[in-house]
Symmetry: D2
Subunit: 310 residues, 4 copies
């Protein structure tokens, strides 16, 4: 008989994760989303695999579930989902496990874990990387924080959407690693934009510069993939909002400060993405941060070359 599980939070990345979970014959899945119509849509799409039910409240979703997965914008939403008459705590069984795939913050996660422990419920933070495509293909990387038994217990559920599941350390460690990864991404995007804008103004085409840099020691995922595909083409597809990267970098920067690590580059990058977020608005993509540098410099990176040149 399939194990009963729940998935709460069906956003851009949560929805395909939930569909893969619901499609697994090992699980009987309840879905919940703040906007219920979204849950019904996901349940409908997933019907071919399992037959997910739609829960009216977090409490109802949690009832009878051994494992409850959450995937929300920030840890604050996760914390507030616990409380109240319809909250998760009202439905969670003793000995259940909450697996939080939110890109959250370690400190709030530790508070959530303490609160859950009062009810005999375990907690694993398990943020993911790999984007919507990775979720759809079950190829996400999952960074876990929690006790070894709790992470082991979460693993089969995580494997329905993740290809690489890594136990990073105690509760909060998954969020910490995710935040640092995002901070490095942010550093790489911004510094590449500064460097390429400088080169454009010095008469060097960005595509030529990237051809060299990507064969040299200064290369990064940003220079190898994001800039060629998104900036030089001027496509700037909206896959991950700068507002969310702003939040992630701030988590990493706060963590550095809490842990007593002088981190001038991470702190400055947090400020730059904060102002990029303020400048570009809520809907802009994270790679559009390069537009802020372009605006200051009065130059465009790539885009203007006729094809065939080089």
């Amino acid at each position: 008989m399939p194990e009963q599980v729940a998935f709460l939070g069906l956003g851009a990345i949560g929805a395909p994760m939930a569909r893969r979970l619901a499609a697994s014959p090992a699980y009987s899945t309840a879905l919940w989303n703040r906007t219920a119509s979204k849950a019904r849509t996901v349940a409908g799409l997933a019907r071919d695999g399992g037959a997910p039910t739609v829960a009216a409240t977090p409490r109802e979703a949690a009832r009878g579930a051994g494992i409850v997965v959450t995937c929300l914008p920030t840890s604050r939403e996760v914390a507030s989902l616990l409380e109240g008459p319809d909250g998760l705590l009202a439905g969670l069984e003793r000995a259940a496990l909450l697996v939080d795939c939110t890109s959250g913050d370690p400190a709030t996660s530790r508070r959530i874990a303490v609160r859950l422990a009062e009810h005999g419920v375990g907690f694993v933070d398990a943020p993911v990387s790999g984007g919507v495509a990775g979720a759809e293909q079950g190829r996400l990387t999952v960074m876990c924080g929690g006790s070894a038994p709790d992470v082991a217990r979460a693993r089969p559920v995580l494997e329905t959407f993740g290809a690489k599941i890594v136990h990073c350390g105690p509760v909060g460690a998954g969020h910490a690693v995710k935040a640092v990864n995002q901070a490095l991404l942010a550093v790489h995007i911004w510094s590449a934009a500064e460097g390429l804008a400088t080169l454009e103004k010095a008469g060097v085409r960005a595509d030529v510069a990237l051809d060299v840099i990507n064969a040299s020691s200064g290369r990064s995922n940003s220079s190898m993939n994001l800039f060629p595909e998104r900036v030089l083409t001027r496509a700037f597809p909206r896959t991950f909002r700068v507002a969310l990267l702003d939040k992630d970098v701030a988590i990493a920067a706060d963590l550095a400060r809490q842990r007593g690590v002088p981190a001038p580059l991470l702190q400055l990058t947090a400020e730059l993405f904060r102002l990029a977020h303020a400048t570009l608005g809520e809907e802009a993509d994270h790679v559009e941060a390069a537009r802020v540098v372009e605006g200051w410099a009065g130059v465009e990176i790539g885009g203007k070359y006729s094809s065939g040149e080089g």
Copy 2:
């Protein structure tokens, strides 16, 4: 009959470049080095291929050469090599070409090019990346700045040690691209050190964190190669001095300022490597910059795990 060329500056990277040039049957090569014994050693090692001669002065090296290659610590040394009774200008033929493989700065290179043009001599800046191993194997990447005919003329010489020869733009463009590449390298090293020191203090092992980051969006050449091989192992091999990376980042930062590009991350990184250079001394390797972050944070990145753990 082989074309006559000269190579001046037989340092860590210049020596293997010169040996490859001298080994080519297409060229008859004269070598010069400030410390003449070094030139004699390189000439001896290269004797199996061509039969390089050792010149007593830059002037003598330049005499009769169609192409003169320089590879010195900074553009300042290149500029001072031109002048004086034994300088390059006293020996260079009209219509010769100076190919400068120094990791130099664009502004000085433009001044050198103007000075050479007064004597009918062309100039190409052609800094390289790929390290000593790349030089020995003829696999360097070469970034060229200069006119299209001059770069075309330099290409066969550059191909004796380079596998990827890219024409980046006008005189100075090669140095500009090299400087930006180095600045991004510096940004990546320092930010990775900040992030990993933070994670270590939050209870996450650096090797575990890198395993995740290197499968995620925050990866760079630094996180994928330098940190696993050099920092986590505590090996810190001395392959490229932090003093030289300090100089390179400063070139990129100055270029951004000259070109009117607000570049807070590059400028801050220039300061951090300046202070790392002051703190670590002249002989330290560039990756040892991570030690400065470790010292501030009071933590070591990697190193302390017994093998086999994970």
Copy 3:
């Protein structure tokens, strides 16, 4: 009959504040300090004015007091003083008022205020500036956060050691203003050190430079007082620890981040004082941060001139 009050926390600045309070005929004062001998010493010194008693526990100090004043290293110590069988909450009367002169943080103060309100106790944050000399002379500036009635009620007590009492806003506002003042102090010290070290290396004596700057638009309290008296003389008296300024700047930087204000200069300054604290140790004075800049620059600011030169 004098009103009963208590003063908890007899550190460098708390002790002279408590002595002035105890000396006022308007108050009957109970003193408490973690190290009791310190409380007995202060009580003895103050005996000429009132006749302060020494309390064995925070609870005992609070019993019967209309107003309880705290002055501790951080808000964390204030929060922990509330709880437990011997804590303040066990002794505080309903309708009493806690006046916290700690240089604390707004967020913790708001939590403390909520906790006190559950017991019917009011809260005013009231950090001070003016140093030990200002406390001894009753000339402190006091920044208050809280409701207007609570601040009005605290005022006569604050006037025993303060000359300028300013109501800044709601609970936490006093701490916020104090933290920003300290952050500006930190910015001014560090930037003056950078500027003067640069001038020294360019052949300009720091005393000559300050003579000009202090007659010009770049002057600050740091350039007018701290550098002439403490740096150029190489006296570096230990009046306020860099460890505490590190804490204060971090409060301001965190506040900026929480309030969504991109503040690159404050954030970077927080990092610089964090690393200065790590480098200089717990006992160093805040002005010794200039020594870190000197060390990086390889130059001393002032100090080496023979007298009479100019």
Copy 4:
């Protein structure tokens, strides 16, 4: 008989300086300005004192003059004024002295001094502070770089518009001190804006905060004068362009880099004023940099309080 002098560059600050010089009975003054009508206007206004003549070219202005004063936007303009058939060098007498009141850069000034020395002409850099009002009242502070005899010789001329004349060091020292003063001004403006925007968003009025800060250790000329008079009133009078402060901070930042002083705060401030300049345009006042912080933070500093409140 009055000594013959010349004054070149009649901008916002140069014009009142020239008028004071021309009004001195000790001097017979020739005026020159790129836009000649401006020179005629200044000459007309000054006619009551001396009787300044208007020169058609720099060469004509210099002819017969013992001392030539320049006051231009940047050192670049001074350097270019020297050359050509109508340039200063064509008119300057051997043993004349060029006194440059431009807020220039030390490196260019040293090159100018070398060029002048070839013609037997001395050089003193003598930038001023005190603004238009200070110039009109003859109350400027003048920072001099040059040899002691040259500065002594310049002093009587400088005293026609300056009240405090300080010999700072060798050629370039005046510009270096001026640049550092300006950089500190820039640091103080920007950091005060960050701090006050944060306080506004935390519910603290900027006027209340400044009342406290200006009685405390965080005060500066910016917090005591610029913010109360120009920001809180929302007057933002245009007295000194942000474009010029951008240039000045960059001079200080470049000097720090050339002298090998890690100066993260000065470098970051240079970037912030560079982007403020790009954002606000050529005509904006330097204090309007606060508007950039306000825009990022989404808050206004002061301005919205009805009068009489407090």
